[in-house]
Each structure stands twice: as structure tokens, then as C-alpha cells.
Amino acid sequence: MSTAENNGRPWPRAGRALPRAGRTLPWVLVTPALGWTLLFFVLPFAAMGLSSLTAHEGGGFTLSNYSQFFTNPSYWQAMVNSLQVTVIVTVVSVLLAYPFAWILAEQVPERWQRLALMLAVLPFWTSYVVRSYSWLLVLAQNGVINRALTGSGLISEPLQLANTRLATATGFVHFFVMLLTLTIFANLKQLSPSYRKAAADLGAGPVRTFLHVILPLTLPGIMVGAFLTFVLCIGDYITPQILGGNNELLMPQLVMMQIGRRGDFPLASALSIILMAVVTVAYLACARWLKIERA
């Protein structure tokens, strides 16, 4: 039985219900949004693609913007740095956030959970320029951490914390722990409590229940969160720029540098497209774990 009545849609859609309005009205509704997307998203993207194939000097067709990436070791190195930082950040963030989300969902009493979660993600809403700057205050040569360590006599000379890869990673992890806590918490709460009861009923202790039931069931959610972390992290310019300084460059910094210092739009475009291609490859690589619901 697969009639229209059985598809969970007891009444057919209104396609023919508005005989006159039905022809033009829907297009009047959707055209502005589609037009905006075409004009200010698709067209710019095409412009960027075109630009990446033109020479900075003279403007003729060239592939040199792309070949530069593969031949210039410092460009290549920026991509390597970006990937390393992103992978480290993603792994560390998941490892930190999962137990935290689990504690919020399982150990905190039900009535305090909403508050506990809101508190846990509150700094998420500080502007991200400000957030990175705050970490600079904490990690600076004479900042809070170094003062605390020298004050307690643990070290005599302040540590070089700011302007390092560690600082960049710390800033990122801070942001993504909050983001992942939010997604993993939602995932844990969606699990029916009957799973836990059933596992307990069948004789599994808390540890085995977690390993064999809870963890596998939340894995898809973790993958989605991890992928989101990957995408947002690899494309971010602010955090490495403020916290990492210019000691080592990540891809977004390299892109911005082409625009800022040299006004080299073609090279910046090519590097952006390469960055996007890497994200797409990452997406395809883990696409089968990412059952992102179509909205």
C-alpha cells in the first residue's frame, strides 16, 4: 500500500489547491532567497574561481597560482601546519568534551542540567576576537599563568606560552570543547533511558553499559561534531593570528597575507579554493559516518 494517503501525509500537498495563485505565488516566495544566494554566494564563488586562474600581473590565463602552492615550500608548510593543528584540536576537544557532556547528562540532577549546560557554553557567546584576546591575557609573558607559576616558585623564568602553536591550540580547544559539549550533551539526552535500563537488566555494569551501549549509540553524533570542529577550525583566521603570532603560518593566515600585504587576489583565491578542496575531501572521507539530517 503506497498511496498518497499512506505516506504520513494524509492530505495531499497544496500544489493544486490554489489553482490560480499556485502558479506564480510559490516562485514569488522563493525567488528572493534563491536570487540572493546566486548573486552573493554562487557568483562570488565563480568570480573567485576565475580570479584564481588569472595572473596577478597582466591578468592573462595562468595556472601558476595553483602550481605555486605545490612548489613553494612555505605555502605547502602552511597547509601541513593547518592540518596538524586541526587534527590535534579536534581529537583533544572530543576527548575533553565527551566526559564533561556525560557528567552533565548523567551525574548532574535533572533540574540543574539546563543551567549547568548554559553555564558551560556561556563564554561561547563572547565575540571570538575578544575570546582570543582573553587567552592572550592568560598566556602572556607576564600574564596570569606565568605570574602564578613564578609567584609560587615553581619556575624562575616566565614560560613562552603566547605566540606558540600551544597557544593557538588552547584557544581553539576552548571554543570547540564548548561546541562539542553542546552537541554531545544533546546526543546523550536523546538516548532513551530504556537502553540503560535494558542493559542493566541484562546484567551489564555501568562501565560495560557505557562501552557497549552508550558510546556506540552516540558515535554518529560525535562524528558530526568532530567534522564541524574540523571545518570551523581549519578556516579560522583570528585564533592563530592573535595567539600563534607569525611564528608559523596556517592557511587562513596565508590567504589573508596575500590580500593584506600584496593585494594578490588571484593567489588568495587559489589558496582559498585549495583549502575548500581539502575540507571537501575530509567530508567525503567521513561522509558515511556523517548522516547529517537534511533540514
Binding site: V30, T37, Q107
Partner: protein, 260 residues
């Protein structure tokens, strides 16, 4: 065993909370510093840096610019998002899945690349850098969000509600104004406030697309070049406060929707 887990949980949770709040606490605390460096020891409390922020014409105008861009771009995004969500949810359109995919596509692309694209396009088209250009970019990032939120809330039940209104004699524009908009109001507000917070915070697109008149995050960025400064702490704390207000409003509208 249970006891051990419980104690370990508490310690772990407190440590993570500590990590999460450390920078924010430091930020707000040293915004109250009375001397010129936002580093220990604490010398406050004093409001002199808030004074300095509020009397800095560049910062206050950037703040107003940010609010203006956030409100206008969010209103545009939510209007376009609502109309298209309504269109797609109510009518059978050829290639509907593909077109919906197109509208949500910008969600998967980083802001840097969206900003780059617009910069290249506007550069070619001779469109000058301006708040308007940045606002256009903000609509690009927030439109898919508004669309997704509102579209996901337009279920079959809402379709029947609109059918009932039409059946009882309401012309299309009355269905829209008296039924659809009020029924969808929580989703519309949610989309609007979420867009507001994203636009309010957005840096890279504004950085690329504005020049003289700019938004607050870009102005704060400029301030950073002068190194650590309690004035930056003060403006950062203010931005944080505004974001919190927006988030609370968002939470409230969300809660209101869950109630019935």
C-alpha cells in the same frame, strides 16, 4: 564504584568549568583595572576604562554600526528565509530538493571563503568597501540558518492549520498575516536572534569588506595592535554582555515555544 565515579566527575567537571571560564574571568576582572596594564596584580576596581571606551568616538560609532548591520542583515535574512521556507513547505516546486540544498549551501563554507568571494566580486564590479557590503555578506551566512530553522518547524500540522483558515474563507494574505506568521513566530524570533548574535560577532567578512566605517569586532582588532590594554578588556566585556542578552532572549523564545 559509584562513589568513585561521582567524586571523579565533580573534580573533572570543576576543572573543565575552570578552563572554560578562566579567560572570561580574567577579561572581566582586568577590565576593572585602575592602572594601564591588564596583568596581575589587580589594582581595581575602577570604571575608568569603561569611561574611556564610551568616550572613544571610534568605538561607540563602531558599536552602533555593528548593531545597525546586525539588525538590518538579520531582518533581511529572516524575511527571505521565512518566505522561502513557506514557499518550499507549502507548494510543490520542480527541483525543490536541489533548490533547498542551494539555499543551505553557504552553511558548509567557511566565512573566510565567503568573504573572499565577495571581495573579489565587489572588487571587479567596482562596489566600494562599506557597511552595506559587509551586511550583504552577513545575510549570506545567516539566510541558510534562518531558512533551516523555520523550514524545520513547518510541519504537516501547520499545513492543516493554514488549510483550515483558507477553508473558512481567508484570502492568501490574511492566512499569511493572521495565521502563518503568528504560529511561526517562535521560529522566526529564534532565527532572528541567532542571526543577530552571529552578525554581531562576525569578524572576517566585515574585516575584508569594510574600510573606514567598520563594525565593532574589526575595531577591537585594530585596538589589539596596541598590545594588551584594559580598554580592550572593557569593550570586550561590553560585547560579551550584549551577546548574553541576545542569548537569553533566544532561550526565552525557545522556551516559550516548548511550553504548549
Amino acid at each position: 564504584m559509584r562513589q568513585v565515579i561521582r567524586v571523579a566527575s565533580w573534580i573533572y567537571a570543576l576543572a573543565v568549568y575552570g578552563f572554560i571560564f578562566l579567560p572570561v574571568v580574567v577579561l572581566v576582572l582586568f577590565s576593572l583595572q585602575s592602572t594601564s596594564f591588564p596583568i596581575p596584580p589587580f589594582t581595581g576596581p575602577s570604571l575608568r576604562w569603561y569611561d574611556a571606551v564610551l568616550s572613544d568616538a571610534r568605538l561607540t560609532s563602531a558599536l552602533l554600526n555593528s548593531l545597525l548591520v546586525a539588525v538590518l542583515s538579520s531582518a533581511t535574512a529572516v524575511t527571505l528565509g521565512f518566505l522561502s521556507a513557506w514557499g518550499f513547505a507549502r507548494f510543490v516546486l520542480p527541483g525543490s530538493g536541489l533548490l533547498r540544498g542551494l539555499i543551505t549551501l553557504p552553511l558548509t563554507v567557511s566565512y573566510l571563503i565567503i568573504g573572499m568571494g565577495l571581495l573579489v566580486l565587489f572588487n571587479w564590479g567596482g562596489v566600494p568597501k562599506s557597511l552595506l557590503a559587509a551586511g550583504i555578506g552577513h545575510v549570506v551566512i545567516n539566510l541558510p540558518l534562518c531558512f533551516a530553522i523555520i523550514y524545520s518547524q513547518m510541519g504537516d500540522h501547520q499545513i492543516n492549520i493554514e488549510r483550515a483558515a483558507r477553508d473558512l474563507g481567508a484570502p492568501e494574505w490574511k492566512v499569511l498575516l493572521l495565521i502563518t506568521v503568528p504560529v511561526m513566530a517562535p521560529a522566526i524570533f529564534a532565527g532572528f536572534f541567532l542571526s543577530m548574535t552571529f552578525s554581531w560577532d562576525e569578524f572576517v567578512i566585515s574585516f575584508l569588506l569594510t574600510r573606514f566605517d567598520t563594525t565593532l569586532p574589526v575595531e577591537i582588532w585594530n585596538l589589539l595592535r596596541s598590545g594588551l590594554n584594559p580598554k580592550t578588556n572593557a569593550v570586550g566585556s561590553l560585547v560579551f554582555a550584549v551577546s548574553i542578552v541576545l542569548v537569553v532572549l533566544f532561550e526565552l523564545t525557545l522556551l516559550r515555544r516548548r511550553k504548549p
